[in-house]
């Protein structure tokens, strides 16, 4: 499988948790995630990716920097921006995400 562009790889890293979750995804979903990464690289705000901020406002802090992106209707991937680098740390279905929110 062809690698993503070097300029993308330089600015996007993955955590251990993300890699573990990604490895368990069905092949067609992994392919869609990789394809969506190319579009994300060109235009992170592209409407199809439905990117939006996730704010940590617990403990009286307002810590921004996390974003949710939707590579397929069923899945979302989440990253945090650290020193200008996107660190991807979670990927799963919306249903799995809802178990965290009590939804």
């Amino acid at each position: 499988m062809a690698k993503l562009p070097s300029s993308f790889r330089e600015t996007n890293r993955t955590s251990r948790n993300f890699r573990d979750q990604y490895a368990k995804l069905p092949e067609q979903v992994r392919r869609a995630v990789r394809d969506s990464a190319k579009l994300f690289h060109k235009n992170p705000a592209h409407r199809s990716l439905r990117r939006h901020a996730l704010t940590d406002n617990k403990r009286g802090q307002h810590q921004g920097g996390s974003f949710s992106v939707t590579p397929t209707a069923q899945y979302r991937a989440i990253y945090v921006v650290v020193d200008g680098i996107n660190v991807w740390y979670w990927i799963g279905t919306h249903a799995e995400y809802d178990t965290f929110t009590g939804g």
Binding site: F18, H46, S48, L54, T55, T72, H94, F100
Partner: protein, 156 residues
Amino acid sequence: MTTGNLAFRNARQYMKSYSEESDVIQRHNEAMDCRNWEDVIHMAIDAFEWTLRADQSYRVSIYQGEEEDIAIEREIEGLFYRWMEVSARLEPHIQRQIEGGFKLDRLAEYRRCVTEIVAIVKSLREGDDQTLPDVLIQYRDAAIQEFHNGETTEFF
């Protein structure tokens, strides 16, 4: 990308069958064999799978550089909403079958589809300003630590 491709045709067709057959089976509730309910459940699962495929097929075309098509996006969303509506109407009848002691084949799989669709539809309505759940704060903090320790790796 057009709505005439295989995934779209199948998504539409399976959704139509699921919707129509569930109406018939509800009208003839008492006379129906539990195997008919199983067939409807199988149709629901097929309709769900094909709608996901239609979505993926559309997205791949966008990711490969094609223009977005609002009509296609609305149709996909419409299929998700329709599936949820039909399943909500069906639920009391399925419940009655279970209470009557019938074991419905692939019921657990169907239930997973319901959970997934509800979450998908909820995500479609999601606004911009969301709060990061506590569990994910832990994953985020661990990821930041890994980054500073030089333990993150390239995206695949």
